[in-house]
């Protein structure tokens, strides 16, 4: 029962996330690139998307931080890693380059796929291959 409920809540969470991206303009790569292009005129809208999301998220994590289990009785899985290591910084720097090239980050890639856009599908498949390449390299290093 718990498992069924957690699947339903995850679908709703994903759905609301997708609606949020569409409403915010984050599902429109041209809008994302207009945010990342600060010259000569800058559309700062997407800073407000993050601001709005963080304002709500901040409260949610304050509540979550006081609990050991979720409201469905599942264990709280909150990252505990604190080290700022090479992989974190290098990976983020690399990710930003790809984000700047097409204006698409991982969550909007799935929304664009859902619109049936061929370009969205091509991006999503490439992104999943990129993730697969990472997994391959990582598994060889173990």
């Amino acid at each position: 029962m718990k498992k069924h409920l957690s699947v339903i809540s995850a679908i709703f969470s994903g759905l609301i996330f997708g609606f949020g991206l569409i409403v915010a303009g984050m599902a429109n790569p041209a809008k994302v690139l207009a945010f990342l292009d600060i010259t000569p005129v800058w559309d700062p809208s997407l800073a407000l998307v993050m601001g709005g999301a963080i304002a709500v998220g901040f409260v949610a994590f304050k509540i979550a931080g006081k609990r050991t289990n979720s409201f469905l009785g599942l264990p709280m899985s909150i990252p505990t890693l604190r080290a700022i290591d090479k992989n974190l910084v290098l990976g983020a720097l690399i990710f930003g380059i790809g984000w700047g090239l097409a204006g698409i980050c991982p969550a909007p890639a799935f929304v664009l796929f859902g619109t049936g856009s061929i370009k969205g599908i091509v991006f999503l498949i490439s992104m999943l291959v990129g993730m697969g390449v990472f997994e391959l390299i990582e598994s060889r290093h173990k």
Partner: protein, 143 residues
Amino acid sequence: MTIDWNHFTPWSALAGGGLIGISVALLILLNGRIAGITGIIGGLFKPAKSDAAWRIAFTFGLIIAPIIWLLFGKLPEITIDANYGLLVVAGLIVGFGARLGSGCTSGHGVCGISRLSPRSIIATLAFMGTGFLTVFIARHLLG
């Protein structure tokens, strides 16, 4: 640099951000999980894990969002200017970089900053930095 007031959409940006925040809140408070897409998908590459169901469910929700939206009205404008070659390159870089850095805009940028995680703040500054720089180089130095 001046603000592009003709294209600035503060209210829809805040509303959309608020929805994303609600989604993040639902997933952490009900499932005890972080709504970071890179981490959610990354977990699916590891077949030993038995927690695939919620990951697939969340991703399914993201994919059907535009489909359900279309039942009620038209989708707002979506323009992908990049050509296919660029999309492949960008996709490979995004996928690899986000996994190497343990997160993307959702995991680090929204969830991590909401938790005031130093790792996520550094990561967000890093990918925002190269994001701005890449667009500047592509549009103003090469374009």
